[in-house]
């Protein structure tokens, strides 16, 4: 296992906060950026990334790798990701354990996989190919899901752990996604956390969700709820000190609110 650094407590870098972050010191330790937002030729996004990178560690977090798709791997995407890696020198590169399209189409959504041996072998092979192309290991994040497939033969956490071990990659453990999926499917979130191999976890995500009555939706639009903070406490005791990251993508609050959320993660980890 490659050792990954504990970057401390960070937030997702969003354009609403560019000016504040560039203006001076903040209390956050690091930033995560959405890779695709910076796969551009020039202009303000790349300028901001370079300025932020001078002062903070940065991790690249993608949404379009589509590691579970049965379409061929998009080599143009991988080449552009590799160029961004050279430019940003990130602490690590992550994406999602999902698929985003098929037949050449892109849904721009994190779609669920059936947890079958066929899917497992498929994903493991593709993670290997991606890691070879990038010349580095990647981490994969568990996604929020709203359905489960009739043909699944293993649980989500078994699938996630098997992918990580067989492909020798890291896990980006999204605690909010564990909670959302646990409620949506009626499984025990604590048991899920207990089944995740702690030595594989590089990073933890924390975010808010929306209760739609019949299901929870992973909206990243509000504060982390108490139940997720409690799961984070449990995860931290089990996994130890790994980097945490607050994601807030809709109804984005002012910087102080976001910073306070990150400080809460810091406090909880210290207590744990």
């Amino acid at each position: 296992m490659t050792h990954v650094p504990d970057l401390g407590h960070g937030v997702g870098l969003r354009r609403e906060h560019f000016e504040r972050v560039l203006a001076g010191p903040t209390s956050v330790d690091w930033f995560e950026v959405i890779s695709e937002n910076f796969m551009v030729k020039g202009g303000r996004p790349l300028h901001v990334l370079e300025r932020v990178r001078r002062d903070y560690p940065v991790a690249l977090h993608g949404v379009s790798l589509s590691i579970g798709s049965t379409d061929p791997i998009d080599l143009d995407y991988l080449d552009r990701l590799r160029q961004l890696v050279v430019r940003a020198e990130p602490a690590w590169v992550s994406d999602h354990l999902c698929w985003t399209g098929v037949g050449g189409h892109n849904a721009h959504d994190l779609l669920p996989l059936p947890y079958t041996e066929e899917a497992l072998e498929h994903v493991v092979a593709r993670v290997g190919a991606v890691q070879e192309h990038l010349g580095r290991r990647i981490a994969l994040e568990n996604v929020s899901t709203y359905l489960s497939f009739a043909g699944s033969t293993m649980s989500e956490c078994e699938f996630l752990a098997e992918v990580a071990v067989r492909a020798d990659c890291g896990i980006l453990l999204d605690v909010n996604n564990v909670y959302v999926s646990a409620v949506n499917h009626g499984f025990d979130a604590e048991k899920y956390l207990a089944a995740v191999p702690p030595e594989r976890v590089w990073q933890v995500h924390l975010a808010g969700h929306t209760d739609r009555g019949s299901h929870l939706l992973d909206t990243h639009s509000r504060h982390v709820c108490d139940e997720v903070w409690e799961l984070y406490r449990t995860a931290t005791r089990r996994i130890g000190a790994v980097a945490s990251l607050i994601e807030w993508d809709e109804d984005i609050p002012d910087w102080d609110t976001l910073e306070a959320e990150s400080l809460r993660a810091r406090r909880l980890r210290q207590e744990a």
Binding site: G42, G43, T70, S148, G151, S214
Partner: protein
């Protein structure tokens, strides 16, 4: 009950159902989905698929509304919703980046019925896309006045110029500029419009025919200062345009080896 499909089959069926404009339930018809998706007391399988179908459409609609706010405002929410439905059927996203989703929308609008109800809508979309497209286009070091005076004046036959990468030259229905400001406008001629990024800010403005001809020439090849002078003929006009282009950061200096054939006017 049907057997559970292989991974390719799962993804193909999933995609067909969640991208159907009428929603997963209608696309499925009377077919039973229990071979594919589990149901429970909270939600049935089709309802669960519809969560993804809704997210698919609304995410892409909202993204296009962000990229084309003037078009969305001009036609209103209901028309824009239906336009996106039509557009996604004709142009489902094939690129990894949402940034590219709207690239074909201006062309799509040309033959869309909304163009008849809202004249010059396609050209308004072209202007919005051009502004969006230059925002993160390649950087370049623009020609500044001091260099123009220091190097250009002494060697006009070899001092070659081109357009910065983050510039676009459009020919638009003249009403678009009024619509941009939210004003009504009578039908009129088409007009040349340049769109460019200076620093991190994006601008557009209309051009007279002389300016348009020069910029078109520099967009397609590098042009020497002397050639530009020949194209314009009028020395005061030439001087004022050079001043304007330098102030707007529109031009780059091309290597002398790139100095090209004389462009015709």
């Amino acid at each position: 009950m049907r057997d559970f499909p292989d991974l390719r089959g799962v993804q193909s069926l999933f995609w067909r159902l969640v991208s159907a404009p009428e929603g997963a339930a209608k696309a499925l018809g009377s077919d039973d989905l229990s071979f594919l998706v589990r149901s429970d007391l909270r939600l049935g399988g089709v309802e669960r698929l519809d969560i993804y179908a809704d997210m698919y459409f609304y995410r892409l609609r909202d993204s296009l509304a962000d990229d084309f706010p003037k078009v969305a405002a001009r036609i209103g929410a209901a028309h824009f919703h239906n336009l996106v439905t039509d557009y996604l059927l004709a142009h489902p996203s094939r690129h990894f980046s949402l940034r590219e989703l709207g690239r074909a929308l201006p062309g799509f609008l040309r033959s869309h019925p909304l163009e008849r109800s809202f004249p010059a809508l396609a050209d308004l979309a072209r202007l919005e896309w051009a502004r969006f497209d230059v925002f993160d286009d390649a950087d370049a070091v623009p020609l500044v006045r001091q260099r123009l005076l220091a190097e250009g004046a002494s060697a006009p036959e070899t001092f070659a110029l081109g357009l910065i990468p983050s510039a676009r030259l459009l020919r638009l229905d003249a009403r678009v500029l009024a619509h941009w400001k939210g004003d009504a406008a009578e039908p009129g001629e088409s007009t040349g419009v340049r769109v460019w990024r200076k620093g991190f800010d994006v601008y557009h403005r209309s051009m007279a025919a002389d300016e348009e001809a020069c910029l078109q020439a520099m967009a397609s090849r590098s042009v020497t200062l002397a050639q530009l002078g020949d194209m314009l003929g009028d020395a005061p006009l030439f001087a004022s345009l050079l001043e304007l282009w330098a102030r707007d950061g529109l031009l780059v200096v091309k290597a002398r080896s790139e100095a090209p054939d004389v462009p015709g006017r």
